[in-house]
Symmetry: C2
Subunit: 117 residues, 2 copies
């Protein structure tokens, strides 16, 4: 699948986004119930459009250069409750119901490693 | 103040970091008590070193091209409880006690805007 050049994202929302040089905004994914920060990924306009319209967490993979729906292969899906844009428009907070592990390592979150202290 | 080229950051930690093209990692800042996601900022090695050694949330401003200690001018300081690196080494989760507003707009968090739904 190729990067979508012209997305159907609501123009009012698109106008609020401050994308980086690669056309992406940062997405912080938080468990809606436990409030654990699960993972951080990236979205372009189309990934955000798909997330908002399907309620399935959908991101742009910078390494694979493709869209991915969280859980599509692992079954560890994310039902999206809410999406909020930060004050300067370059970061999204995505509140989800996480099925199973959010991290590709099998950990519940991507931040389950030891403290740096 | 100029960007520090050679940081005193613990080499074992430095070796784990996967920096972007600008030498930065993403820092998600979370309230240690309420678990609200407060803000997202960026750190280079030196900002992380200062954060770990002073327990004051310290970041690299991409717009001002300078280090900044959260609350240094506003008084809205962040006492850092913990710092965790994510599974692929490009994002930090910073758990803090936030004094006052975390957002420069005066809001408690940078994500206090309306839902995108």
């Amino acid at each position: 699948m190729n990067r979508v050049e012209s997305s159907a994202l609501d123009p009012a929302i698109a106008a609020m986004l401050k994308r980086n040089a690669d056309g992406l905004v940062c997405a912080v994914v938080q468990d809606a119930e436990t409030k654990d920060v699960l993972m951080v990924a990236w979205m372009d306009d189309e990934a955000l459009h798909r997330t908002l319209t399907t309620r399935k967490g959908t991101y742009w993979s910078r390494s694979r250069e493709d869209y991915w729906v969280k859980g599509e292969t692992s079954g560890h899906t994310q039902y999206v409750h809410d999406v909020r844009l930060d004050c300067d428009g370059d970061t999204l907070l995505v509140l989800v119901d996480q099925e199973g592990a959010a991290c590709h390592t099998g950990d519940r979150t991507c931040f389950d490693a030891d403290s740096l202290f």
